[in-house]
Symmetry: C2
Amino acid sequence: MTCLLPAPTHSCIMKQTTERNNSVISALHSPLPTFSKETNHIKFDILAKDHGTRARRGRLHLNHGTVETPVFMPVGTQGTVKAMSQEELADMGFQIILGNTYHLYLRPGHELIRSVGDLHKFINWRGNILTDSGGFQVFSLEHIRKIGEDGVVFRSYVDGSYHEFTPERVMEIQSALGTDIVMAFDECAPYPCTEDYAREAMVRTHEWAKRSLDSHDPNQAFFGIIQGSVYPELRRQSAQFIASLDTDGIAIGGVSVGEGKELMMNAVDWSVPHLPEHKPRYLMGVGTPEDIIDSVVRGIDMFDCVLPTRLGRNGSLYTSQGRINIKNNKFIDDFSPVDPECDCWCCRNYSAAYLRHLYKCDEILASRLATYHNLYFYRTLMIRIREAIEQNRLTEYRKEFLAKYRRHRASVHDEIPRQDLSRDGAQKKTLSME
Amino acid sequence: MTCLLPAPTHSCIMKQTTERNNSVISALHSPLPTFSKETNHIKFDILAKDHGTRARRGRLHLNHGTVETPVFMPVGTQGTVKAMSQEELADMGFQIILGNTYHLYLRPGHELIRSVGDLHKFINWRGNILTDSGGFQVFSLEHIRKIGEDGVVFRSYVDGSYHEFTPERVMEIQSALGTDIVMAFDECAPYPCTEDYAREAMVRTHEWAKRSLDSHDPNQAFFGIIQGSVYPELRRQSAQFIASLDTDGIAIGGVSVGEGKELMMNAVDWSVPHLPEHKPRYLMGVGTPEDIIDSVVRGIDMFDCVLPTRLGRNGSLYTSQGRINIKNNKFIDDFSPVDPECDCWCCRNYSAAYLRHLYKCDEILASRLATYHNLYFYRTLMIRIREAIEQNRLTEYRKEFLAKYRRHRASVHDEIPRQDLSRDGAQKKTLSME
């Protein structure tokens, strides 16, 4: 088969870097010395630091262009961010999205994707892609057959067939996908779990991290993953071990699995002090707008979460004054935008009443508008966070944002069950849903 | 509630008419005298006729701008053309869409829509809207309680509540919706039905047509509907009766209810000779690309059908070489566009293999891309038909189109069950689906 689609445009990284550096640096209150991690396929510049917190304003240079950090990465599990087109994601300004190795391996298969070039070509996305290693999904499945030192044998949720994931195999699959950032194969311990089990899973994760690092495609940026569950000593050990490896970035995993906000923030606080300044830090599967601000404050640079897309499809929309349930009767005759302060496609063109009607009728446009709006909310939040760091006023911005966001909580907020905060695949019933 | 949405732009009809007339007329092989039906809210110009057939190339001037005919009108039953945004419909060049009185009356309710202005404002569609009268839906429901001379009592499919539709009530609802073309309340006889029942339904339809005409909002263009089932004498009587009324346009109803292509074309052939030249003619609920060309040839100007949207959601896509089932294994590694001759958003950016993958994963983007592509196919077909009439070569174009469209029928076509060709609401199980 010949590919008749246009080839993706590979950004000229050097040119973009120079131009954008100038504009950003000129906006900074006091330019700081740049910390930098650089290889052929990744470069991470820290452009500014917030004085009152651990927050950093950075820029990642990857194979498919730059990524401004702190960044939120929409989740495109099966090669599509649910309900969105690639054009809409680019229009919103997203520079990186997630794909999932486990799902793409099972369907359509990494060899098919390799045959057309890579995942970018297959889905026609010209920005960057990070792929999860599949560890999270494999360990949250019912049909694990065997966990061994070498890897995991599991059954496909699509057709029941048997498959084995080892660190080497997962690196090979991610190489075929040709994504820009690949993740080490890890074991994400469930919550709750005993300290003994958490230690065992951590030790395995460390062994697999070394094997993943050794076997990963050198054309891809490689991130290690810290585990250790809710145990401070394990988190410290894991952070120190992963930090000792020659990775391009470091992720904190094993969070957002139902442990609650306080324990999640503890996991960050126990890990970050042991991490090198010059590598990007990624908190996997997090989170709510509040979780994100609170983690940026703690020194995190990268986030992904299914919340904005999944909640959008269920009729829950983020606004500057809190999250609302658009199906509520109060919106029947509300002909104003979902969020009068929002300038997204949804809010510029459609009313809350129309959106409610679309939900009541199970119309596809409902999911489209709400997903767009929610992703735009996250995008705007990240822009504001980056500006606040540049202006050395993140603490102030956090207070302003939360005061407004929580103002009407009592009337319009419905609590998010903690399990809904989890990463893709944590709940078996929604495994194929995001 | 205050409406914070921008007011729709009302096109300047006179300006558009002058400009476009010049460009189209200059392209015609031999400008013909213009036949015209004109009131305050509708004007129909026949710009050219095809010499070898009954086809007309026309232009409708309505409250929300001009509509080039022959035209295909996408179906937006519940105030949304399934999976599309209003922006996408406008980008494709659609100048008129359908809404359904029955569905919008039940949900969200016509009074709510009246309170924000009209249906255009509620859904933010700046083009024209035609509303079906609801007769088709009411008569295809199980829970009709009583058909009388005055109207029909029925139960809501949403909540089981009782409602009554009379001609006057249906005109009042359509007035509240503020659409550009309203349809008379009619009884669509099922297929098959006896000649006696068909006559009874036709007589009732004629009586209701007069009452609808008398009570319709004079700011809306009004179309009568011909019935008569598959009986030539009844079709003749109905055509002559409806033609005798002072309507703005005439529809042929009671087709596309499972009677098959031959009887459908008969209904057109039995009706058209009795219709005045100067009024637009609308064949309700039709149809396939082949049905549309064959009906244009017979003198029809307007069409609507759920096929391109419904089939699109089911993975069936129109191409210049016939309709294909994208879920077929042959597309697994087909990285070319769905139709290499198509220049739509889907075909310019995404491959058949990616689309197949999205279908296999039940992803929303699958429905979006396929619906866009199928509507674009219909849009392009209508443009080519209009050009062919202007160039006096519709018979030739029909042959060329069909030769190509049917070439690979054996390998790629799956037959459409006739019941799937029916209008929205003919099948109870899909009543809320389109």
